[in-house]
Symmetry: C2
Subunit: 360 residues, 2 copies
């Protein structure tokens, strides 16, 4: 098979596993009434449309770390864990959207938006409450499904214990990061650069990058040292990814990244760019356009220029560069010391260059 | 030891297990900043003040079903599962309060209310958002902790698999019940009596009564038949409990049940009492006072009299009676067929009489 055909087959396997989970749940939902079934159908539509970045990364690394080809049972077990990583991601997105009051994600209706759109005949207030509450409840179910999925993984009891510890740490740190993020946006804590960078690591790196990498290590019986090495690498890539995301939102082309131009500025999002700008003399001219729901295109462009002129863009770009360079060095070292097989460093390099070349 | 001393010792054991969990989590929270530590401290204060009805029921039945005295390890394992049942309960309460927009529970500030009270210097809107979001996030952590606790229970692998299946079914059904409850209160589904009764079973009986009873059966290696028997019994007791709760809220003495008089009427809560009243000719006179935030004492009393006169009180009281009688018959049958040991039927009878004699 060509590399692309393998990629496609992998995507299909993960999608099939997810589709089966949703089909089982939709069937179980039937005895609880049409609204609950409708919730599961809407959720399946939303959750199955993703790019499956996290489960793909997990599977790619499982194949790369394994000593030889996986048995059928090993493949099924790994796909199953990978699918539950995706469910965890979707559970976090659901609660994130409730917390942020968002009705869309990447310009399309999210679950809350889709549920509201499906009930045009009801009053706006009660429908919105019902849709938000549905997202809280579905998030609860998917979160517990993810943990149950890890707990029931068809792996050795040692591997299962490691997976559960990994998941426990991951959920705790992600929630801590989300909590800090809310505290930042509600003005409960000061938006200093250090807090913002650690919050990005906790809420993004830990579950989106470190979890798939470490889970692959556990599934292939890699040593604790490899797991630790992958933790550092995943943390750095995740942070670079998040910072790149912040840069794109302000300086990127909206037609490419698919987000509303100036949305971060409009929402007053406390990013590393803003934290840096706050420490410069240009902040006063930027602050006027920060967290203004009615920002115009001209004002947005002017704030963007000021963020460039004050050095915030350059600083954050160099941070991205720095973290990706550090990953590159780790990989060279891991290769020369045989700490990671060449196939594994290749998977991570591919991931790194996707983050580097990101335009959306 | 006297019965009371044993009861006290049991309460202490469960509280200690919970206190240890919260202490561990508070310690882990420290690296994530003072706000996250504060959240855990507030949560511990709230969660440790409860009556521990569910874990006590579980432990009482474990002792009653066990063939002999439990070993120390068995006791520790059972206490641990019982503590996680309480964490699950608290996680559900947290998300329930977010959904209902409540700031108090039984006339005291809940977690959201306590967090708001702790930040008098902030603007009301952002503090409320921060407190609500904190409750969502903490609920997520406690929910996953509960599942992880079951997954790591120090029991045989067969028992663990049974516990996980039980928990999976319990969470799914409880969330389905909560979802139906929200659909009822937002006017998404019709408030007919059948829907209201099944919703009560799903959202109350299943995790508060059936879960502790079935978990005790699993922990003592009881047969699937015993588990099924306990499911029927727990479902009926839970429904009787919920109906009794509805009756108390409308017809009980506020100084005893600790809730605001007429709160169910004021909030327009769709209970079995209301569903029955809707089918009578007196509904018109009751509807005028239903879901009125500004209901006066005189109007509340008049609605209460009408709910009595139309037969709603009598109907719901007889439902309570019917379910408790059915439990009593099941217990007699279980004793005569040796399906349950006498000690176990005694525990369930004690529970039944607490529901019967409830005034708060």
């Amino acid at each position: 098979m060509s590399a692309t055909a393998t990629e496609e087959a992998l995507g299909t396997q993960i999608e099939d596993a997810l589709r089966r989970r949703f089909a089982e749940r939709s069937a179980s939902a039937e005895r609880y009434g049409t609204e609950f079934v409708e919730l599961w159908h809407t959720a399946a539509e939303q959750a199955l449309g993703g790019k499956l970045i996290r489960p793909r990364l997990l599977m790619d690394l499982v194949h790369a770390l394994a000593a030889g080809p996986l048995s059928e049972d090993e493949t099924i077990a790994a796909i199953d864990v990978a699918a539950h990583v995706e469910l965890l991601h979707y559970a976090f997105l659901l609660h994130d959207d409730v917390i942020d009051g968002d009705l869309t994600r990447r310009l399309r209706p999210n679950l809350i938006g889709a549920l509201i759109a499906g009930r045009p005949e009801h009053t706006a207030e009660s429908t919105a409450h019902w849709a938000r509450s549905s997202a809280i409840l579905l998030g609860d179910l998917l979160l517990s499904s993810a943990v149950l999925g890890f707990a029931r993984a068809d792996v050795s009891s040692v591997a299962r214990e490691r997976l559960l510890t990994l998941l426990d740490e991951t959920i705790f740190e992600t929630v801590a990061g989300e909590h800090a993020d809310v505290a930042l946006s509600d003005g409960i804590v000061e938006p200093d650069l250090r807090t913002i960078l650690s919050t990005s690591v906790y809420k993004t790196s830990t579950y989106s990058f470190v979890l798939p990498l470490r889970a692959a290590a556990v599934l292939t019986g890699a040593s604790a040292a490899v797991e630790e090495n992958l933790t550092t690498i995943g943390t750095r890539i995740g942070l670079a990814y998040q910072l790149q995301d912040d840069l794109l939102s302000v300086f990127g082309a909206p037609e490419e990244h698919g987000k509303d131009a100036f949305s971060d500025l409009r929402e007053g999002k406390e990013t590393a760019i803003i934290a840096y700008a706050r420490m410069t003399s240009q902040w006063e001219s930027i602050e006027r356009h920060f967290a203004r729901p009615d920002i115009t295109h001209a004002e947005g462009s002017s704030a963007r220029e000021a963020l460039r002129a004050c050095g915030a863009e350059g600083y954050v770009s160099s941070l991205v560069r720095e973290h990706l360079d550090a990953v590159a060095s780790s990989l060279v070292e891991a290769e020369s010391s045989d700490a990671l097989p060449a196939a594994a460093t290749q998977v991570i390099r591919a991931l790194t260059s996707r983050v580097e070349g990101r335009t959306r």
